[in-house]
């Protein structure tokens, strides 16, 4: 062995180690950076079991080729801008959201205003409703909700004859929803329905899904479900319901009146200004399926809109 060869091999060896470390280090950094943006989806339904009554109202269930989406799909892909504008990040951001204690206030043009706490809310008898949910963004799911028809609550408060609309308001608080000031929409989130829409037997106040109480990211403890309208009408984590004689403002139509209307009925013939609404991506499927008028609930709800130009009142 000559003295020159040993240092040379040591030098080369060290060089290989440095190279390997650079490759490994940068790869690790890139991979972890990428994975922080990649969606995560291991979800267990950890809600409390709800007792539901057998359904007495006949409503159209999704077809045989439309199985309900998994709990994981439903609970890991949410539009809830108060927590995050990234659908796959909402579940994590809403993890510690406090829904107990809760107060739901029902008032306005009513005979008997009502203030429900969580316990009172839980005493209302619930049923299961398996509905399609069509998001305005062009995707859809089938969701087995647990809840009660909104009309049951409205009948209890006895709307006055002047009441024509129902306004809803979500919970909002920067402490629990620190990201909400970058959501780009005015908050608290508000929504509204015409009184006859609100009284329709399909219109549900959901308190659970898949037999258990709602996960935070899906709008715990109580949210609206109007299956023939785009998903954003289904206001989440409701704190206030107000009967009124004026058409109430709604968050998305305030943020962008050209793109989102008050009615927002699912309608394949009225495109969103930036995308078509003729087809939808059913979560769990690979290709798009055609979107149904009123999301397939036309037989039940079309009569609410007779004589109305649905292109104008989109």
């Amino acid at each position: 062995m000559t003295p020159e060869i040993t240092p040379e091999s040591v030098y080369r060896n060290r060089r290989q180690i440095i190279k390997a470390s650079i490759l490994a280090g940068t790869s690790l950094a890139t991979a972890s950076l990428f994975e922080t943006f990649a969606p995560r989806r291991v979800m267990d339904n950890t809600g409390q079991a709800l007792i539901t009554n057998p359904e007495d109202f006949i409503y159209p269930k999704p077809g045989a080729d439309e199985p309900a989406n998994s709990f994981t799909d439903i609970a890991s892909y949410n539009n809830f801008y108060e927590f995050s504008t990234s659908k796959s990040a909402v579940a994590q951001a809403a993890k510690n959201f406090k829904t107990d204690p809760w107060k739901l206030e029902i008032g306005g043009m009513v005979g008997k205003a009502l203030l429900l706490d969580l316990a009172a809310l839980r005493t209302i008898e619930t049923v299961e409703r398996i509905y399609r949910m069509r998001c305005v963004e062009g995707w859809s799911m089938v969701i087995p909700w647990i809840g009660f028809p909104l009309r049951e609550l409205l009948e209890r408060v006895e709307p006055t004859s002047a009441a024509k609309y129902v306004a809803f308001q979500s919970y909002h608080d920067l402490q629990q929803m620190p990201d909400s000031d970058s959501a780009g929409i005015p908050l608290p989130y508000v929504e509204g329905l015409r009184l006859d829409e609100a009284m329709h037997p399909l219109t549900l106040l959901a308190t659970g899904l898949y037999g258990k109480t709602l996960p935070n990211q899906n709008g715990a403890p109580v949210r609206l479900v109007v299956p023939w309208k785009y998903g954003f009408k289904g206001i989440k984590s409701i704190v206030k319901i107000t009967l009124t004689d004026q058409q109430p403002p709604t968050t998305w139509s305030t943020a962008n009146p050209d793109e989102y209307g008050f009615y927002s009925n699912v309608n394949p013939d009225v495109p969103h200004p930036r995308w078509s609404q003729a087809h939808e991506m059913r979560i769990g499927e690979t290709f798009r399926r055609p979107t149904l008028m009123f999301n397939g609930y036309g037989d039940q709800v079309a009569s609410l809109y007779t004589g109305m130009d649905l292109k104008e009142h989109f």
Partner: protein
């Protein structure tokens, strides 16, 4: 046997770049196989490929300022690869749209491009990338001549603007990410403008 010092080892730099540029593809395939791509894998792949195309475009345009400001001349030899990775991701982005959104129907793609401005802008940026990718070889640089090649490749600036505009047109309300890309683009393009003004201000031969 002589060794090139690590800071000048272009082959190694390209290796590092290749592995890091393709890792997101591997991770996406891996995540897809173990059902970890989220509820809407098509949407995720569309977004991710689009953002990656934009990211590599920004990196491509960072080369010149970093060279001039910090003397990192080794970066110049990576610029072509950076640009091509941007192009590959743009192809993936376009293909995801063409296959899953449009069912691979040319007429449907054409109609959609005509109807929806944000698609038109994205499509323009994508189409402009093609001549740049085609002329990225040494042979093409020689055939075109350095000056003409450089002029043609200034289209990159327009592509960047198109990409950022396309991105900001599709978000519903939260503009933070598009604004971030917009800010970086403004810096990168501003640097070129400042440099051009500087060059004009200096007398010839100085």
């Amino acid at each position: 046997m002589k060794d090139i010092p690590l800071p000048n080892d272009t082959a190694f730099h390209k290796q590092v770049l290749a592995i890091n540029a393709l890792l997101p593809v591997l991770l996406t395939v891996w995540d897809f196989n173990r059902n970890q791509l989220g509820a809407n894998p098509v949407e995720f792949v569309t977004r991710a490929s689009g953002v990656m195309a934009l990211l590599f475009l920004v990196l491509t345009l960072l080369v010149t300022p970093l060279r001039r400001c910090f003397g990192l001349n080794m970066l110049l030899k990576l610029r072509r690869d950076l640009g091509l990775y941007s192009f590959y991701y743009a192809v993936a982005h376009f293909m995801t749209y063409a296959v899953f959104d449009r069912g691979l129907q040319l007429s449907s793609i054409a109609a959609d491009t005509w109807r929806r401005p944000f698609i038109a802008v994205g499509m323009m940026a994508f189409l402009l990338m093609i001549p740049l990718a085609v002329t990225s070889t040494n042979a093409m640089i020689q055939r075109l001549g350095g000056k003409r090649w450089a002029l043609l490749h200034r289209l990159t600036y327009l592509i960047l603007v198109g990409g950022v505009v396309h991105y900001s047109m599709i978000v519903k309300s939260d503009l933070r990410w598009p604004l971030w890309f917009g800010f970086i683009s403004l810096v990168l393009l501003g640097y070129r403008v400042a440099e051009a003004l500087n060059r004009r201000a200096k007398p010839k031969g100085a």
